[in-house]
Symmetry: C2
Subunit: 339 residues, 2 copies
């Protein structure tokens, strides 16, 4: 298929130096005397030499690949992070190998193993909730790993994320400050999802601080999706008295809630306030515009890349602090109705 590969030796022979010299030049031109640089580069160009990644990784024990496993690739939620990760490491000649787990722990475990087998030099994962044996496997292989989207510090690996608990606490507080006392919550499924757990706990904590609690009937757990959000909203609004505020643990739920409210003729925020979580592009465009939390998605990807690069470079970067998020107040929240 491929005509005989052009190898380092071919280049070396053409220039009249040893393969080692060409290798040095390729990896760090400053290691080669100036007057050789030109000819070597010329030979490389002429032969269209491209180093063999596999051989390189075998000999150097470094593959120059970073693996990343996201819960999903279908949503644009993680796209920015992936993009930022890729950009962060591209400058050092690294590439990203991605996989998605479909929010399934078993699948995630499998993907991690595949990536490890493929010899990635570093790993980026989302969330800290998974079988500890996976973390052990990674640790045993000595592959540096960062965990994103969360900010606990008691995890097996450094976290580059934000405080989900506090963010959810803040949105809820915003609602409480507006006078709301009857709440409904739409949450993702909580098994194996520490982000969701932390968010729900944050909501509860804010409520508790004002002497309020969340009954099971006030929470709907469902799959991520706009349609699911519609349905959950509909269900929640069936109660009497109706809730006056709906806190959504993920943004698609909030979009669904807003669409459903419009269809059902329920005025937002006059009759019910709705909050989202993430501030994706639709949040500012939807009517009414969504009050939500802006999460540092791209920054997480970028910093994860930088962090891994730095570890791979032999440095010992300090454990990063939680990244800031931002409460974005828009039109979907307002004072609690008097009744």
């Amino acid at each position: 298929m491929t005509r005989r590969r052009v190898t380092l030796d071919d280049v070396a022979r053409l220039v009249g130096v040893s393969a080692a010299t060409v290798s040095r030049f390729v990896n760090d031109p400053s290691k080669v005397r100036e007057h050789l640089r030109g000819p070597i580069q010329a030979a490389i160009d002429e032969l269209a030499y491209v180093p063999h990644g596999g051989a390189r990784s075998l000999a150097s024990r470094r593959s120059r690949m970073i693996g990343a496993v996201f819960p999903s690739l279908q949503t644009s939620l993680f796209g920015g992070a992936l993009d930022a990760l890729q950009n962060a490491i591209a400058s050092e000649g690294y590439t990203v190998v991605v996989a998605s787990s479909d929010y399934d722990p078993a699948c995630e475990a499998h993907q991690v193993q595949t990536l490890l087998a493929n010899g990635v030099d570093g790993l980026m994962l989302v969330g800290a909730a998974r079988d500890p044996r996976i973390h052990e496997l990674i640790a045993r292989k000595g592959v540096p790993c960062v965990i994103t989207w969360v900010s606990q510090s008691d995890t097996a690996f450094p976290c580059i994320g934000f405080d989900n608990h506090r963010a959810a606490f803040d949105v809820t507080n915003h609602l409480l400050d507006l006078g709301h006392r009857r709440f409904g919550v739409i949450s993702g499924r909580l098994e194996h999802n520490d982000r969701g757990q932390a968010r729900l706990a944050g909501v509860r904590a804010a409520l508790a601080a004002r002497g309020l609690a969340l009954a099971p009937e006030q929470i709907v757990y469902t799959r991520f999706g706009v349609a699911e959000g519609r349905e959950a909203f509909h269900h929640l609004m069936l109660r009497t008295p109706r809730p006056t505020a709906i806190v959504c643990g993920a943004e698609p739920f909030a979009y669904g809630a807003i669409f459903e409210a419009a269809e059902a003729g329920i005025a937002v925020p006059r009759e019910v306030s709705i909050t989202g979580f993430d501030d994706m592009w639709l949040a500012s465009q939807i009517t009414p515009a969504l009050t939500t939390v802006r999460t540092p998605r791209a920054r997480m990807g970028g910093m994860a890349g930088e962090y891994l690069l730095s570890v791979l470079g032999g440095e010992t970067p300090t454990t990063p602090r939680p990244l800031p998020y931002e409460l974005i107040v828009r039109r979907s929240t307002g004072p609690a109705p008097l009744a």
Copy 2:
């Protein structure tokens, strides 16, 4: 960093067979006599042996990696395709190395080279419009490549996509059938974007078939985005007489147009009809729900994977036919106003 790697030899020694046998088992258990399979698998598990991808690719000349370059990873447009690609090839032990080009040809060229250097066994690209030298480079390396999102057959590599021209023709025809005669078009920038070119040409062709033409003032070329769509819509509606139909070459434009219309108090579809292109998740949820073309995004990714696998397996798959798309008529289009 890594404790001494567990190698094939370790496994072989533990079982009491040769490395070659274990290698055969790993790659195709049926090549090893039945009674050895159990013990070998047991040893692999016990030692937690994981093959070294680099060594493998060096020895076998196959990296088991497929490279994919998308114009962007930020949008969910390509997410489904990426996911499907990944799933399609995962079963054969392949992984996806992704890169995004940010809709920049130079960046794309660079990404392709990086992927090639990393030794991907196959390549998936979006669109056929790029410097022919890149195609030559790929061909020279003998790396199988498929081009997605378009369906021309005169390209350097097989296409797995749909007919953008005809799809745009169809939406436009739908509008013409509804009696519309004054059109506005919101299009992405056309340089290096054959999808956009084909779509615009499709619109023009449909119009021409009814004796209509598109003046430069009736078209806005802009960056992809909802905000850009709003602005373009606003601009287009400034003309007198106003257009009664706005054809959008990409879905974010249509969302923006609908949002802007709502804000400006322009009734859709009574005063103006709006069409999208892609049928992303918001299309059915937005009010009014969007008339659009459903493009086979996931299928393109999946089929691209299968096609590459089949080529890599030594088969000579037939050139795939254009994939079907579907005109989805919803509420955002209606009869042209009488005036």
